[in-house]
């Protein structure tokens, strides 16, 4: 099975992505497949601060609860409210409609510590 690993994102080993172009954060295609049917996502409110490597929320599948970690430092501009009614978007479109947070104030060098698409692809293969 091959998983989508978009070239415009940077990655955490724990399977979260950060896209500098729109400041969004989510979990990867590989992660959603591992979890199975996502049924609930708990996210911080707008205005909250998140810190690179720190837990900022949880994603729950039918079977299990998983912590999710911030790839970068930043301030939450928006959390994806669409996931409240349609958590399955995380499974259907993890890099698109299934995004978790939109961040502002992310340091310019924040992506230096993250995996490149090539490095992340290597990790999940």
């Amino acid at each position: 099975m091959t998983f989508d690993v978009p070239d415009d994102c940077y990655y955490l080993e724990s399977h979260e992505w950060y896209r500098p172009a729109d400041g969004r954060v989510g979990i990867t295609d590989f992660a959603q497949d591992e979890l199975g049917d996502v049924v609930f996502v708990e996210l911080p409110d707008a205005g909250a601060a998140v810190a690179a490597g720190e837990q900022f929320g949880v994603v729950e599948s039918i079977k299990a609860v998983s912590d999710i970690y911030a790839p970068v430092d930043g301030e939450v501009v928006a959390a994806n409210e669409g996931l409240a009614d349609r958590p399955e978007l995380v499974n259907d479109d993890p890099f698109g409609e299934g995004w978790f947070l939109e961040l502002d104030g992310v340091p310019d060098d924040a992506t230096d510590a993250l995996l490149t698409p090539a490095e992340y692809r290597e990790q999940i293969e």
Partner: protein, 364 residues
């Protein structure tokens, strides 16, 4: 290393996701838990349940031994009948739950019982110890490796079997069993299951289980342990080792809501303690609840009486988002004062007390 069932290669080929459960490497899902769950509720699913134990009891005192070790009334069983039953210790604590079969007259043994995965060795040693203590003439044989076991569950299960056998199985009553060739494999077919749907469990020679699986998989959706778990939770059925565990969460049948399977009019290990508890009543009992705020109840979450989550009255042992209802459901033990259906309680989810309503089970 974890044990594997004879169907491991089939699951691997089907690209199942695996999990370790009670010492077994088992498929947790194939396509997805929700789709598999829905197949069982609306059509038919196929489960590999070879990880469950299979112990045969034979001999002139077989009935006496089964009666001494299980809570239900074995005398109710005619050949080909089955019953849900419990094994309790001297304190009346449930060590495992099981289905006891009285085998048909032409069988090699007299009784068969099915301990949960991981409980087979302990069951065999308990049963032989009690046999020796009481000087009974009975053999207890572990046939788990010789027999495979599959479950065909869902409203279409009778049709699936009828297409594959000349024997009449569609007219088997619930909790009855008979020998029948299914897809040319000699099976012991019982109308039992763990899903709340109509369905059958099939025992067959281990060498034939792959062939039987392949044939049934043409007509049924293969289902993993994930769907098995959500299906039983919707019914409020207990999971051994999770909803009760003699080490970590010792519970009697009356606390666990399965007092219907206890017959105090026969002598069995634990009877005296249970007779006393029957008189005294229980302090906590097993209930279902539905979370009324967003979140998912899980094993280990505390249950509180108040919205601040401070006055603790119990703890959940199972929970999930019910695929059928699309509502968060939980099972667990609460103070009997809060156990009536309709009572408002609060489940503490990561520090937040969320409102929940005690609900009758089954949920669906």
């Amino acid at each position: 290393m974890a044990s594997r069932t004879p169907l491991y290669d089939r699951h691997l080929a089907a690209e199942a996701t695996f999990t370790e459960f009670a010492g077994w490497e088992m498929p947790v899902r194939y396509e997805g838990i929700r789709a598999e769950h829905e197949a069982v509720r609306s059509s038919v699913g196929l489960f590999d349940v070879c990880h469950m134990g299979r112990l045969e009891v034979a001999g002139s005192d077989a009935r006496a031994l089964v009666s001494a070790l299980t809570t239900n009334d074995v005398d109710e069983l005619d050949p080909g009948d089955a019953q849900y039953s419990l094994e309790t210790d001297e304190d009346g604590v449930v060590v495992d739950d099981t289905v006891v079969y009285r085998l048909p007259a032409d069988a090699d043994a007299d009784y068969l019982f099915v301990p949960n995965a991981g409980h087979v060795d302990e069951a065999r040693s308990r049963w032989t110890a009690v046999r020796d203590e009481r000087g009974l003439d009975a053999t207890v044989r572990d046939v788990s490796d010789e027999r495979g076991m599959l479950a065909v569950q869902g409203p279409d299960a009778p049709d699936v079997l009828a297409d594959r056998t000349d024997a009449s199985v569609a007219d088997l009553p619930r909790f009855a069993a008979r020998n029948a060739a299914v897809a040319d494999v000699e099976c012991f077919v019982s109308r039992t299951g763990y899903t709340g749907e109509d369905g059958f469990e099939l025992l067959c020679p281990a060498d034939d289980v792959e062939r039987l699986w392949d044939d049934l998989a043409d007509a049924c959706r293969p289902c993993g342990l994930g769907a098995r778990d959500t299906l039983r939770m919707e019914m409020g059925y207990l999971l051994s080792g999770q909803d009760f565990d003699p080490e970590t969460n010792p519970r009697t049948p009356y606390e666990a809501g399965v007092g219907f399977a206890v017959d105090l009019d026969h002598d069995f290990v634990g009877r005296d303690a249970l007779g006393r508890q029957r008189e005294m009543g229980v302090e906590e009992c097993f209930v279902g609840l539905v979370l009324e705020e967003r979140g998912v109840p899980r094993h280990g979450y505390a249950v509180a009486a108040d919205p601040d989550g401070e006055r603790l009255i119990g703890e959940l042992t199972s929970g999930t988002l019910s695929p059928t209802l699309d509502e968060p459901i939980g099972l667990g033990y609460v103070d009997v004062a809060y156990a009536d259906a309709g009572t408002t309680v609060h489940v503490v989810v990561r520090g937040d007390a969320k409102r929940a309503r005690i609900t009758e089970t089954p949920f669906v």
